[in-house]
């Protein structure tokens, strides 16, 4: 963890309810500029909810979330501001199926950032090259493999040139042989200094790339540490049990 840098994302006592069910219980988290955070935990532990609160896909009920010094409030203007600074990659890719790959990538830059078609196209092609699919620009999402679709989704986020990227189980919907092509792209991104929060079960990726591992269970952050710390000597019993279960195979 890079404690010296001012945090770009701060969560203070963030709680979130779905009806009577408390998905997040007073969560506190700081993420520094350029930090790579991997969040893991059993399903239903609130890890997806946590990152979905950061770009306001879910509204938190109490506590404060600050991104780049901007507080996330009920004011829609703050949502738009923060979404401009934070990109997101989804488990189900969520590409726009009626648009070509290129159109998927240029929609945001043209409509939100005000780029011309030519500028947006140029930017899109740059990022498509970066995710290693420059030759698929004119295809529709359904013509691509899952791994390719997820890389397009990553490129779509990159086109907005946000400094922070959230990944919500980016490889969970992929066939096993496609997981590595997506993780490779993410590893490269991590090396480029992007601030990343990744919800994943890929512990190999976590070990290699993460600065910080966050373990969540039942809506709480149970443990935070560097990969070296947590993989060799997890402090809590729950984390130890979890690690044992997912590292077994």
């Amino acid at each position: 963890m890079r404690d010296i840098d001012a945090p770009v994302i701060t969560l203070r006592d963030v709680s979130k309810f779905f009806g009577d069910f408390q998905a997040l219980k007073s969560v506190n988290l700081n993420v520094a500029q350029g930090e790579r955070v991997v969040i893991c935990g059993p399903s239903g532990s609130g890890k997806s909810t946590l990152i979905r609160c950061i770009n306001r896909l879910e509204a938190h009920e109490s506590g404060q979330i600050t991104v780049n010094g901007m507080a996330l409030t009920d004011d829609p203007a703050s949502h738009e501001q923060i979404r401009g600074a934070v990109g997101m990659v989804f488990q189900q890719f969520n590409l726009f199926p009626h648009l070509t790959v290129l159109q998927n990538l240029t929609l945001g830059p043209r409509r939100v950032l005000g780029l011309t078609q030519a500028e947006a196209d140029e930017r899109a092609l740059t990022y498509l090259e970066r995710v290693r699919i420059p030759d698929q620009a004119d295809k529709f999402p359904r013509q691509l493999s899952g791994g390719q679709q997820q890389r397009v989704a990553i490129a779509r986020s990159l086109c907005m040139e946000s400094k922070i990227l959230l990944f919500d189980e980016p490889t969970s919907a992929l066939d096993p042989e496609m997981i590595s092509e997506v993780l490779d792209v993410m590893t490269e991104l991590a090396a480029s200094g992007m601030t990343m929060i990744v919800v994943t079960h890929e512990m190999g990726f976590a070990r290699k790339v993460a600065d910080t591992i966050v373990f969540m269970d039942q809506g709480e952050i149970i443990e935070v540490g560097t990969p070296d710390q947590v993989f060799t000597a997890p402090k809590s019993q729950r984390f130890a049990t979890f690690l044992k279960k997912i590292l077994q195979h």
């Binding site: 770009n55 306001r56 896909l57 949502h79 738009e80 979404r83 401009g84 990109g87 997101m88 989804f90 189900q92 969520n94 590409l95 726009f96 199926p97 009626h98 648009l99 929609l107 945001g108 409509r111 939100v112 529709f140 359904r142 013509q143 989704a153 779509r156 986020s157 086109c159 907005m160």
Partner: protein, 244 residues
């Protein structure tokens, strides 16, 4: 198509019996040709009326559907009230009310054409609103979330992400409504719109051969609607092909 041909030939066979008098619409005789042309001249207004009305009702339907999807209760209530009230009025009654009632009530006098368009569009808009609502609701939540993740505002999300997908899905239903509209336009004949049905009515009054004339009328609608259906199906295929 096969069924249509069988149906048409049966009618022609039946026409050979002594009870029929096809001469009224026999295009080989000068009189019959004039009568046939007179009947077909109603096609223009049937199509113009239906297309104008459906163009308006699609726009109104969409504008009524959007509040129905709002998170705010008041907006949803407006949507419900509009749909329930408009859907409850029979089209014929609405046509009569717009043509005879509206001028007396508001001083706005519409000619036959616009009264017909207004009544048809109003009546259809409630159904269009329901079709749009269902179509928009069928789009996965992930699409909204993806649009939010690239900071698109509500307008752009609807315009570039949700509606293009929803419209593809509801195209068959919109085609149905167009067919329905073409048929319902016949009701506007009661206020004197010179469309297919009105022409047939007028001709049968002067020629005293309602059986033959109304049979031709049936065939006119049948051909018109089969052509429209084929066109809509082609459009659907084209839109699907564009995506594949």
């Amino acid at each position: 198509m096969k069924r249509f041909i069988i149906f048409a030939s049966l009618l022609l066979l039946a026409g050979c019996s002594a009870n029929w008098g096809w001469y009224v619409v026999d295009p080989t005789t000068p009189k019959g040709l004039i009568n046939l042309k007179f009947m077909l001249s109603g096609m223009y207004y049937t199509i113009l009326l239906s297309v104008t009305a459906i163009s308006i009702s699609v726009v109104v339907g969409l504008l009524v559907a959007l509040p129905g999807l709002s998170e705010k209760k008041g907006w949803r209530r407006f949507n419900r009230a509009y749909v329930e009230i408009v859907r409850a009025v029979p089209i014929l009654v609405l046509i009569l009310w717009v043509y005879y009632g509206l001028p007396a009530m508001s001083g706005i006098t519409l000619n036959v054409f616009w009264a017909g368009v207004l009544a048809l569009a109003l009546s259809d808009s409630a159904f269009q609103a329901e079709i749009f609502r269902a179509g928009i609701q069928s789009i996965a939540r992930g699409q909204y979330e993806a649009a939010k993740s690239v900071s698109l505002n509500y307008r752009d999300t609807m315009r570039f992400v949700i509606l293009p997908q929803a419209i593809r899905r509801i195209l068959p239903a919109l085609g149905n409504q167009l067919v329905y509209m073409l048929k319902m336009s016949s009701l506007v004949s009661v206020i004197g719109m010179q469309e297919l049905t009105r022409k047939a009515n007028e001709l049968s009054v002067s020629e005293y051969r309602p059986l033959e004339i109304y049979t031709v009328l049936v065939l006119e609608y049948l051909v018109l609607i089969l052509v429209v259906s084929a066109f809509v199906r082609r459009l659907e295929r084209k839109m699907q092909a564009a995506e594949a």
